[in-house]
């Protein structure tokens, strides 16, 4: 039983206790990027894997991705226009063709105007969102962490760790 709970405790701890403002803001920006890109293609999966492999706060990233998914539907017209412009740009045709003939790339749906447009918009917004959110996370991250510790489930998981420490000391 304790063996199964330990990964959960470690994940909770990582989410709630050991996140710096920088990690939080980067997680937020990357989450927005992931949320804007339409799902069901290799690009979204790849972004998810990249996001998971970075030293960023995954909790904030997941929350931001969820929120951006709903917001992204309303940005589809903008994404479509941007994607159409990029995909039809004559100077990029060779690049797109080369990319299209690369294995696995067709699975990313990069040739879809909304996908590529959303991805580009997300990329553009990564740094600004990070810079804009960093002060906010700096100011409110400790407050949020403190409140999160009060959640029963967090206390349950964290308390279990303390019990384990106690047990190991004895």
């Amino acid at each position: 039983m304790l063996f199964l709970l330990k990964p959960l405790r470690l994940a909770t701890k990582a989410l709630l206790t050991e996140s710096t403002p920088r990690q939080l803001s980067m997680g937020f920006a990357m989450g927005i990027l992931l949320g804007l890109v339409p799902k069901g293609n290799l690009l979204a999966i790849t972004l998810g894997i990249i996001l998971a492999s970075l030293r960023i706060n995954l909790g904030v990233a997941a929350a931001a991705a969820l929120a951006a998914t709903f917001i992204g539907v309303y940005l589809d017209p903008v994404s479509d226009r941007l994607g159409t412009y990029l995909l039809s740009l004559p100077s990029l045709q060779g690049f797109w063709t080369q990319l299209y003939n690369t294995p696995l790339m067709p699975w990313t749906d990069f040739n879809n105007s909304v996908v590529i447009g959303s991805f580009v918009i997300g990329l553009i917004l990564v740094y600004p969102l990070h810079r804009l959110s960093h002060p906010l996370f700096t100011r409110y991250s400790t407050v949020v962490a403190e409140r999160a510790r009060r959640w029963k489930i967090a206390r349950l998981l964290l308390g279990a760790e303390w019990a384990d420490r106690i047990g190991s000391l004895e």
């Binding site: 990582a14 589809d76 994404s79 994607g83 299209y100 294995p103």
Partner: protein
């Protein structure tokens, strides 16, 4: 080691792997079910769907697609479907099935439920009636009806010219003789009236008698003219009758020639015969084939729509492939299973090759080879060539029926043709371009137990015998059905030697029957003509002779009166001569003859002894003042003597000629002045009168 860093990421990887491993198959299964239901319009059951990424392989088992048109029945079901995808095209999002196998395919199996979706129902396709078979039956019925009517009309006696002419001639002469008889009969009262007037002419004094006799003479003249005209008319009958009899003979010759021509030309339409006999099964096969084609095309169009997913968010840009290949290519798919034929499951095999979404890119047509085993082996090859601008479908099939098939040609209420067609072999070859079909269906078989049965009692047995004779000689049947035009209503043409064989056989066989029937009918016609001739001749001769006899007596009587009156007109006969003529004629009876003779004797005595009284000339009308005798025209100082007495008969009229009495008697004087005699009075020549 920063487990806080690794563990969450590891969890994510595990979740992704778990999603792919445990979630992709159900997702694919759900997608397959949805696609199949959209395609068929009915429920689709998929038991299991498993995939392997390397090598890429998909296995589907327990699939049953319900039939939308037949609740409770599966359209198709199969046990397993396994296909292997090519890896390299898969990286480029192209599905190339290198090889696929479908096992345990069955069509039309039963389901546990009705298999119907609860979605909005599509309007069912109207089941097109077998318009071809219906059309065929109508044409076959017309052939036999037309044949029997033609034969019936040809063998109808009323059609023969002999009958018609003979009947016409008889009626004509029947009327003519009746008219002549009436005219002759009408003469008799006039003769009798003349006779009565002649007798009555004796009343009154001599002058009145003479006047009466003149009137009688005038009537007699008219009567004789009428009698002569009637006689001429009767005489002129003979050439006309001869002409009519020649017409009758000519009619008989014409009938003979017509019969011969009819036998030469009589021949039912070979096309209609073929359609009547063999067209039914041919058209049914064609109709079934067209129905299959339409069904497959319907499913293919729906499948094509399904392979193009719904338009999602955004626009997909297609970039050129450096090594272009179709997005979907089924290299080879082997299908095996059972098909229900005649209430039993018959195994079949099929191989499908080169089915692709981009045939012009692949440059290879899709081919389906189908083999059905069992009692009715079937080989079918369908080639779908979409490499060009227009898709061309070629269908080549060979099918064999081991069990005999009954042929029934219904000709309405007239007759039926039935036979067994055994060892049947079908060959079909069609080309389908868009909605236009062009091809042929060929049939070959053995014809056995042919029977032509008459349903209508009025159908002549000669025809029935001829048809059965013809049908018994036909052992092999072959037919070809050519089809062109729109798929829904193609134009069809049936060609079969059986039509020609039956048609020619009917002509030859029926010629004998027809000859016999026509000879019989011709004999009847000739007998009828001979009978008519005999009747006409007999009637003509009898009537003619009777009329001539009656007419002759009448004419003779009238001529005698004329002769007597002519004697008076000539003024050169005296009363004695007249009286002698009258006495010698048959116009008066024996009793009257005695009186006449007595008067004549008295007159002679008076004239010879006393001479003519002086006042006599003044009693003659029209003579004005009493002139002397010498002033009366025609009256000379001639003295006449009435020859003979009663029964002497030796008078001027002994010769019976119409010549006026002798004028050579010296001293005799005419009884009447010539001016009292009508100037146009001319007595005819009378035949010698027999005593």
């Amino acid at each position: 080691m920063r487990w806080t860093y690794v563990i969450p990421r590891l969890l994510i990887v595990v979740f992704i792997w778990a999603g792919l491993h445990f979630g992709m198959d159900p997702a694919l299964r759900f997608s397959a079910i949805r696609t199949a239901q959209t395609l068929t319009g009915a429920k689709a059951d998929v038991g299991e769907l498993s995939t392997t990424l390397y090598p890429p392989r998909v296995t589907v088992s327990g699939v049953a697609l319900a039939s939308a048109g037949r609740p409770g029945t599966n359209l198709v079901e199969f046990e397993t479907l396994e296909f292997r995808l090519s890896g390299d095209p898969l990286l480029r999002r192209q599905f190339v099935v290198e090889e696929g196998v479908v096992k345990g395919v069955r069509f039309g199996t039963l389901r546990g439920d009705d298999g119907q979706l609860e979605e909005e129902e599509e309007e069912p396709e109207s089941t097109e009636p077998s318009w071809l078979a219906e059309q065929l039956k109508a044409r076959g019925r017309e052939w036999l009806n037309g044949l029997t009517e033609q034969i019936r009309s040809q063998l109808d006696p009323n059609v023969l010219e002999t009958y018609r002419t003979g009947d016409e001639i008889y009626r004509k002469w029947d009327g003519r003789f009746q008219e002549l008889s009436l005219e002759v009969k009408a003469m008799k009262p006039r003769v009798e009236d003349l006779r009565v007037r002649f007798r009555a002419a004796r009343s009154g004094n001599t002058v009145e008698q003479i006047e009466n006799y003149l009137q009688v003479a005038q009537q007699a003249d008219t009567l004789v003219q009428d009698a002569q005209a009637l006689r001429k008319e009767m005489t002129d009958i003979t050439p006309e009758v001869r002409t009519d009899l020649m017409r009758l003979d000519q009619a008989r010759k014409n009938d003979t020639e017509q019969i011969q021509q009819l036998v030469r030309e009589f021949r039912p339409d070979a096309g209609e015969v073929a359609e009547s006999v063999i067209g039914g099964p041919m058209y049914e096969q064609l109709h079934q084939l067209i129905s299959w084609i339409q069904t497959v095309r319907s499913y293919a169009s729906q499948l094509q729509q399904q392979t193009h997913p719904e338009r999602g968010r955004g626009t997909d840009f297609e970039f050129p492939w450096l090594h272009p290949t179709p997005d979907f290519h089924l290299c080879k798919l082997t299908v095996s299973g059972d098909m229900r034929m005649d209430h039993e499951w018959v195994p079949f095999e099929a191989v499908v090759t080169d089915v692709t979404s981009d045939a012009p890119l692949l440059q290879r047509p899709a081919i389906v080879r189908f083999r059905l085993q069992g009692k009715k082996p079937l080989l079918l090859k369908v080639t779908y060539d979409a490499t060009g601008e227009t898709a061309i479908t070629e269908i080549v099939g060979a099918y064999r029926e081991a069990e005999p098939r009954m042929l029934n040609a219904d000709a309405g209420r007239k007759a039926t043709i039935s036979a067994e067609l055994d060892d049947i072999q079908w060959d079909a070859r069609f080309t389908l371009i868009d909605d236009v079909i062009d091809g042929t269906v060929r049939l070959a078989g053995q014809l056995e137990k042919p029977v032509f049965a008459a349903q209508d009692p009025s159908l002549r047995h000669e025809l029935v015998d001829a048809m059965n004779d013809v049908m018994s000689r036909i052992t092999e049947v072959s037919a070809e059905l050519r089809t062109t035009g729109p798929l829904k209503h193609p134009r069809v043409e049936l060609h079969s030697p059986i039509g020609e064989e039956i048609s020619e056989g009917v002509r030859l066989a029926f010629a004998d029957q027809m000859n016999a029937a026509k000879e019989k009918l011709q004999a009847q016609a000739e007998e009828y003509a001979a009978e008519q001739l005999q009747r006409l001749t007999g009637r003509f001769r009898g009537e003619y002779e009777r009329l001539m006899a009656e007419h002759g007596d009448t004419i003779r009587q009238v001529q005698e009166i004329q002769q007597l009156v002519a004697s008076l007109r000539s003024g050169k006969v005296d009363a004695a001569t007249v009286f002698q003529q009258v006495s010698n004629s048959n116009l008066i009876s024996e009793k009257d003859r005695g009186k006449v003779n007595k008067v004549m004797d008295q007159a002679n005595s008076f004239l010879n002894e006393a001479g003519v009284p002086g006042a006599l000339p003044f009693a003659i009308p029209g003579q004005g003042a009493s002139p002397g005798l010498g002033s009366l025209p025609g009256l000379s100082g001639q003295q006449r003597v009435i020859p003979g007495g009663a029964g002497s008969g030796s008078g001027g009229t002994g010769s019976g000629s119409a010549a006026p009495p002798s004028t050579g008697n010296a001293g005799s004087r005419p009884l009447l002045p010539s001016t009292l005699i009508p100037p146009n009075f001319a007595p005819p020549l009378l035949p010698p009168r027999k005593r």
